[in-house]
C-alpha cells in the first residue's frame, strides 16, 4: 500500500458528510513535496475539514487520503502517530495550551514524543522560537500574547518536529495586513529553506497570490478549479474567478 512518487498529499474521491449535509463530494487533488497549495472557498465549503482529514483528526465517509506514502484512512493509532510526525498543523487561533508557557507549549511535544535530552530540547525550542521572532517571549503564557504572536507561536509549535508537510488553517485571519504579510513570509521561508510542502486554507487572496504554487477552489463540496493563480483567475467557474479577482 505505498506510493513511489514525490506526492506529499493526495485526495482520491473523498466524501465527507455531517448528518444530512455533504461537505466534501468526491474530492480529488494532490500536492507535491516542496510546493504550496492554497485552498480557497466560501465559508462552510469544507476547507478546514480537508485539513483535518489530512491530519486524520476526522475520517472520510469514503475515499483515500494519502500523506507521503501512507493512506491515513485505514491506519491505527500507532501508525497514525508516525504519520503525524511528518505533519505540522497551524490552527486558526493557535490552539496553544493555556496552562503552559510558550516555551512549555513547544517543549511538551518534544519531551513526550521524542527521546531527545533536555539540552537538545532547549536548543530546538529556542531556535524555532527565534525563527518566528518570539525568542524573548518563551516565558509568557498564551493569554499574554497578541493575535499575531499567537499565530507565530502556533506556527512555532507546528514546526518543532521539522515536518515535511505544513497545514495552516487561515494563518492570516484577524491580523492586520503587515502582520499577515510577516506570517506569509515565515511560511514562504519555510518552504524555500526546508522544502516543506504547504497546504494553506485562506480567505486572503493577496497572501495566496504571494505564496501559492497552486490554488484549489472548493465550492458546494467539489473542487471547482485547480491550477496556478493565473489559471484559476481565468477559470470558467464563476465562484473561482470571483474569489481570485474581486
Amino acid at each position: 500500500m505505498s506510493q513511489t512518487h514525490s506526492i506529499a498529499v493526495e485526495f482520491k474521491r473523498v466524501m465527507k458528510s455531517f448528518g444530512a449535509k455533504r461537505v466534501l463530494n468526491d474530492v480529488s487533488f494532490h500536492i507535491e513535496h516542496g510546493r504550496a497549495l492554497c485552498l480557497l472557498g466560501r465559508s462552510g465549503t469544507g476547507k478546514s475539514v480537508t485539513l483535518k482529514l489530512i491530519m486524520a483528526l476526522m475520517r472520510p465517509d469514503s475515499g483515500e487520503v494519502w500523506v507521503d506514502r501512507d493512506n491515513v484512512v485505514g491506519l491505527g493509532e500507532q501508525q497514525l502517530s508516525l504519520v503525524r510526525k511528518k505533519l505540522g498543523y497551524l490552527f486558526q487561533d493557535g490552539a496553544l495550551f493555556d496552562s503552559l508557557t510558550l516555551y512549555q507549549n513547544l517543549a511538551f511535544p518534544l519531551s513526550r514524543v521524542t527521546r531527545k535530552p533536555k539540552d537538545e530540547i532547549d536548543d530546538v525550542v529556542n531556535r524555532v522560537l527565534t525563527d518566528v521572532g518570539l525568542g524573548a517571549d518563551g516565558a509568557k503564557y498564551p493569554s499574554a500574547l497578541s493575535g499575531g504572536m499567537k499565530k507565530r507561536a502556533g506556527l512555532a509549535r507546528a514546526l518543532v518536529f521539522e515536518p515535511k508537510i505544513l497545514l495552516a488553517d487561515e494563518p492570516s485571519s484577524g491580523l492586520d495586513r503587515i502582520t499577515a504579510s510577516e506570517i506569509d513570509e515565515l511560511l514562504m521561508r519555510r518552504k524555500a529553506e526546508h522544502g516543506t510542502a504547504l497546504i494553506i486554507v485562506t480567505h486572503d487572496v493577496h497572501g495566496a497570490r504571494k505564496i501559492a504554487d497552486e490554488v484549489a477552489v472548493l465550492d458546494k463540496g467539489n473542487v471547482v478549479a485547480f491550477g496556478s493563480v493565473d489559471e484559476v483567475s481565468q477559470s470558467e467557474n464563476d465562484v473561482a474567478r470571483r474569489l481570485i479577482t474581486e
Binding site: 491530519m55 483528526l57 503525524r84 510526525k85 490552527f91 487561533d93 496553544l96 495550551f97 493555556d98 513526550r112
Partner: protein, 265 residues
C-alpha cells in the same frame, strides 16, 4: 394527541439509552486505557493535586459545619429520652456510614465535576484537543484517564477527612453543651462502629469518583457546541454526576448489606 405523547416518550427513551450507551462505552475505554501502557504518571499526579489538595478545604469546612449542626439537632431530640450519651455514637455511625461518603461525593461532583467538564469542553472548543492529537499524543489517555483515576483515588481520602472533620465539629458542639472530655467522646463514638461500617462505605466512594470523572470527562471531551458547550458541559457534569451518585449509593448500600449482613442494623 395520545399518539404524539407516546412518540415523545419513545424519543426521550431512545435518547436516554443512546446517552447511557455512549457514557458506558466511554467509561469502558477509560478502564481499558488505564490498564494499558504507557501510563501518564506525571499528568496523574498533577490531577491528583488538583482534585485532592484543592478540594480539601471545602471538604473539611463542610464536614466540620455539618458535624456541629447535626449534634445540635440530635441533642435536642435525644435529651427528651435521656439518651444524650448516645450522641457521639450517632454522630460517628451517621458520618462514617452515610453522610461522609455521600456528601463528599456530592461536593466533589460540584467542585471537580464542573471543573473537568468546563476545562475539557474549553479545550475542545479552542481546538486544543485536536492540537494534542496533531502532536502524536493520544488525547484520551493524556487528558481523560488521569482525571478519572485522580477522582477514584482522591475521593476515599477526602471522605476520611470529611468523616473526621464531622466528628471534630460534633465534639466541639457537644463540648460546649456538656463539657464532655475528648477521650470519653471518642470512646463513645467508636464503641458502636465496626470495621465493616467504616471500610466498605469509604471504599464505595471510589465508585463515586469513577462516576464523577467519567461523566464530566464525557460531557467535556465530546462537546461540539463551541463556547456554549463549555457552560453546558459544566452544568450537565454536576447534575448528571450528582444524580448518578445518589442512585449508585442506593445500589451500593444494598451490595454492602449483602456482603456484610452485620452492618444491616
Amino acid at each position: 394527541m395520545k399518539r404524539q405523547e407516546w412518540r415523545r416518550h419513545v424519543r426521550w427513551l431512545s435518547r436516554f439509552f443512546e446517552f447511557a450507551g455512549k457514557v458506558g462505552l466511554f467509561s469502558l475505554q477509560v478502564l481499558v486505557d488505564s490498564l494499558t501502557p504507557p501510563f501518564e504518571f506525571v499528568q496523574f499526579t498533577r490531577q491528583l493535586a488538583e482534585v485532592g489538595n484543592r478540594s480539601l478545604a471545602l471538604i473539611i469546612v463542610s464536614g466540620f459545619a455539618l458535624g456541629a449542626v447535626m449534634t445540635f439537632h440530635t441533642r435536642s431530640t435525644l435529651v427528651m429520652f435521656g439518651a444524650t450519651a448516645m450522641i457521639p455514637a450517632v454522630q460517628s455511625v451517621a458520618f462514617f456510614v452515610e453522610i461522609g461518603p455521600l456528601v463528599a461525593g456530592l461536593l466533589l461532583a460540584g467542585r471537580v465535576g464542573s471543573g473537568i467538564g468546563a476545562v475539557l469542553a474549553n479545550m475542545r472548543a479552542t481546538e486544543q484537543i485536536d492540537a494534542v492529537e496533531s502532536l502524536s499524543i493520544d488525547s484520551f489517555k493524556f487528558l481523560v484517564v488521569p482525571r478519572v483515576l485522580a477522582c477514584v483515588i482522591a475521593l476515599p481520602f477526602l471522605t476520611l477527612f470529611m468523616d473526621f472533620a464531622g466528628l471534630l465539629g460534633g465534639f466541639l458542639s457537644e463540648e460546649l453543651s456538656s463539657h464532655i472530655a475528648p477521650t470519653l467522646y471518642l470512646n463513645r463514638a467508636f464503641d458502636y462502629l465496626q470495621w465493616s461500617n467504616f471500610i466498605a462505605p469509604t471504599l464505595k466512594t471510589a465508585i463515586f469518583g469513577f462516576i464523577i470523572g467519567c461523566v464530566s470527562s464525557y460531557f467535556g471531551y465530546t462537546t461540539d457546541k463551541g463556547a456554549q458547550g463549555v457552560g453546558e458541559a459544566a452544568t450537565n457534569s454536576v447534575v448528571v454526576s450528582s444524580l448518578l451518585i445518589i442512585l449508585a449509593d442506593v445500589l451500593l448500600i444494598k451490595c454492602i448489606f449483602f456482603l456484610f449482613p452485620d452492618t444491616a442494623i
